[in-house]
Amino acid sequence: MAKATDFNFKFETNTFTRDVSISKDTRAINQSITNILLTRKNEKPFTPGFGVGLESMYYKMINMNMSDFVFLVEDARININRYEPRVSFSDMEILNQDTIQDDGNVQLLVTYTLKSSKNNKIDNVKIVIQEN
């Protein structure tokens, strides 16, 4: 796959180079997808449609019915396909559907296809949304 290079999400210092840490390849893409999914709509200046806003949906998701979740997945698909053109969105599912209330968090698994990889490699990123 083509090289993907991005700043580390936490802007940590690389102890060897004393420069900002860099995330590469799948980690960089996973960071990008996480960024898209957690950004609230209207949060990014002059790009009001950007983001899904999962971070603020903890309470909504613990009691979410299937039709609402389908809409959420559709929103994620549109956003990821539009703003992260290196991947093709495949699916998003809740991993701990039955134990959300006990866990106190929602664990989401986003599956995608890396477009530039040989054999269309499928990868995924796990996002945990906690009560905030």
Binding site: S32, N35, K44, P45, Y83, E84
Partner: protein
């Protein structure tokens, strides 16, 4: 780093972002700035926003520093101060009512106290009588038995009467932190050793002012108004007004209003049984809640140039505008027309004519003021002592003309090309065939002698003319007059030829006055044959140059597509 220079002229957010992305994109730097979800892209967003913020700030700073480009009222207030122009934060809606004293004793309207009520959309509004600014005539507010007079009432949400103020005696000033007050209603009085004295508002200093002149100056401030007396303690030079002593108290009275909220009030009642309101159905108007910046930009520089004197046309225009008696749109020249008699049909020297069109009348559609309107006489009275020696200041009723555009583009060209619109010359840039001048409202005053009863000349559009050297017929332009003859049959006459002998209009009883310039619209009407003029129309053709000047006031409008 990139070899691409940053485009500093691009101030749109997306352009700035693209510039930064282009600047950051190079083979040594493989950051994913192109992907919106990436952290690098978020950093670029941040930089772009910061750049945009400062670009906008610089732009605003520059724009607000100059009169032409300023948009904020606060900026215009500051910029107007060196020009000696006072901006009103808010003006009260007013109604000029005609009162008749049907009793046997003289009635006196008490300033700030006599009130009437009007209704607008079922809500009652109070209007207060206030003397005109600087009015010292003790009979202004009196109505003798059987007398009928006009009085101006100001819409009032609250009234302050003789309220003492805290004066900065060192700097001889005090603040009124009330943006709702109408400066036209402000009265300043000082309790001097020998009683309460009225102070007169002046707008500029002149040689007639001395240390004993009872005057004050008003300046607009951020929160309201600042009043100055002319004798600050610590200053060089002569006093330009009497200073207020520390043992003296200053009292102010004024009306606060609802601004434009009071416009449209009617059905006025509330005076005693012996004072009748003749025109109780008058609709109030002229109020505004915030100043129109276009009007400020028009008036302030002209006010400075005029210096309070009435010499040029602009002096008169600004003087009339500053009286606040006429409500205008964003371009006051569409409502106030001043011109010399040498350019009028009469062509006699020594007269200054003015015509007024008040946009607040006729339920907001605007209407011209007849000579009998009190505003006309009030303006003439105000200016009586300032008009230059040897000239007279007279009112000429406007001849309203509808300027009809049959497509959208000419009206824009019209407005863009001609600041004064109807007082300018059309050139071939404007396709005159798309424009029609038409009037159906012809005041009797517009006619010479006593038309139509004793014949004479009807002076229509004395400054509308085509400048074609050839005949009207040859040019394709037509100049028609619609009238009814004595049998009440409607006829249309057409000016068709320019040659001196055959100049004229077809139709019975109408010819062009050949003693006047051939191609001006001055008709001679035969009273035995013409009973009523219904309207006059001029159609220009491409290339026709049409001048519409002076007393003609009109609002362009678009018909058709």
């Amino acid at each position: 780093m990139s070899t691409q220079p940053i485009q500093l002229g691009s101030l749109d957010f997306n352009d700035i972002k693209e510039n930064l992305k282009s600047f950051l994109s190079n083979p040594d730097n493989e950051l994913d700035v192109d992907f919106d979800g990436s952290i690098a892209n978020t950093v670029v967003d941040l930089l772009s926003y910061n750049t945009l913020y400062y670009a906008f700030y610089s732009n605003m700073l520059m724009n607000e520093s100059f009169f032409d480009s300023a948009q904020r009222v606060e900026s215009l207030i500051s910029l107007s101060k060196p020009l000696g122009y006072t901006i009103s934060h808010r003006n009260a809606s007013t109604a000029t009512l005609t009162l008749t004293n049907t009793g046997t004793t003289t009635k006196t309207l008490a300033p700030y106290n006599t009130s009437i009520s009007g209704v607008k959309n079922g809500i009652g509004y109070t209007f207060i009588y206030v003397n005109p600014v600087n009015d010292t005539d003790t009979e202004t507010n009196q109505l003798t038995p059987q007398e009928t007079k006009n009085f101006k009432f100001y819409q009032s949400s609250s009234v302050i009467i003789n309220s003492p103020v805290t004066v900065d005696y060192t700097n001889q000033k005090f603040n009124i932190n009330n943006k709702k007050l109408d400066p036209r209603t402000l009265r300043v009085q000082v309790n001097e050793a020998d009683g309460l004295k009225d102070y007169t508002r002046v707008t500029n200093t002149n040689s007639s002012l001395s240390a004993s002149s009872r005057v004050y100056y008003i300046e607009t401030s951020r929160n309201g108004y600042t009043i100055y007396f002319g004798a600050p303690r610590e200053t060089e030079g002569l006093s330009v007004g009497r200073g207020v002593g520390e043992t003296e108290t200053v009292f102010i009275s004024y009306v606060s209003s609802s601004g434009s909220g009071g416009n449209g009030t009617t059905n006025f009642t509330g005076l005693d049984n012996e004072t009748s309101i003749i025109n109780s159905g008058t609709v109030s108007g002229g109020g505004y809640s915030s100043p129109n910046i276009d009007v400020v930009k028009f008036a302030a520089p002209r006010n400075f140039v005029g210096g309070g004197r009435l010499v040029s046309i602009a002096d008169y225009e600004v003087g009339i505008l500053n009286t606040g008696l006429v409500t205008t749109g964003s371009n006051p020249l569409n409502s106030i027309s001043v011109y010399g008699s040498n350019s009028a049909a009469e062509q006699t020297p020594g007269k200054v004519f003015f015509s007024l069109f008040d946009t607040s009348l006729n339920s907001g559609a605007g209407d011209s003021l007849p000579v009998t309107n009190s505003v006309v006489s009030e303006i003439q009275t105000n200016f009586a002592e300032e008009v230059m020696l040897g000239t007279t200041f007279e009112y000429k009723e406007p001849l309203e003309v509808d300027i009809t555009f049959t497509s959208n583009s000419p009206v824009e060209s019209f407005n863009r090309l001609f600041r004064r619109g109807f007082n300018q010359t059309f050139t071939s840039n404007l396709n005159a065939s798309l424009i029609k001048f038409e009037t159906t409202k012809i005041p009797v005053r517009q006619s010479f002698s006593a038309f139509p009863t004793s014949g004479g000349r009807f002076d229509f559009k004395n400054k509308i003319f085509t400048q074609l050297e050839e005949d009207f017929a040859a040019s394709g332009a037509t100049f028609t007059i619609t009238y009814t003859d004595t049998s009440v049959t409607e006829l249309v006459g057409v000016l068709y030829n320019k040659t001196s002998t055959s100049v004229g209009i077809t139709g019975n009883g109408v010819t062009l006055d050949i003693s006047f310039d051939h191609n001006t619209g001055r008709f001679v009407l035969d009273p035995l044959k013409v009973s009523q003029v219904k309207g006059i129309t001029l159609y220009g053709m491409p290339g026709t140059e049409i001048k519409v000047k002076d007393e003609i006031l009109a609002n362009p409008k678009i018909t058709g597509s």
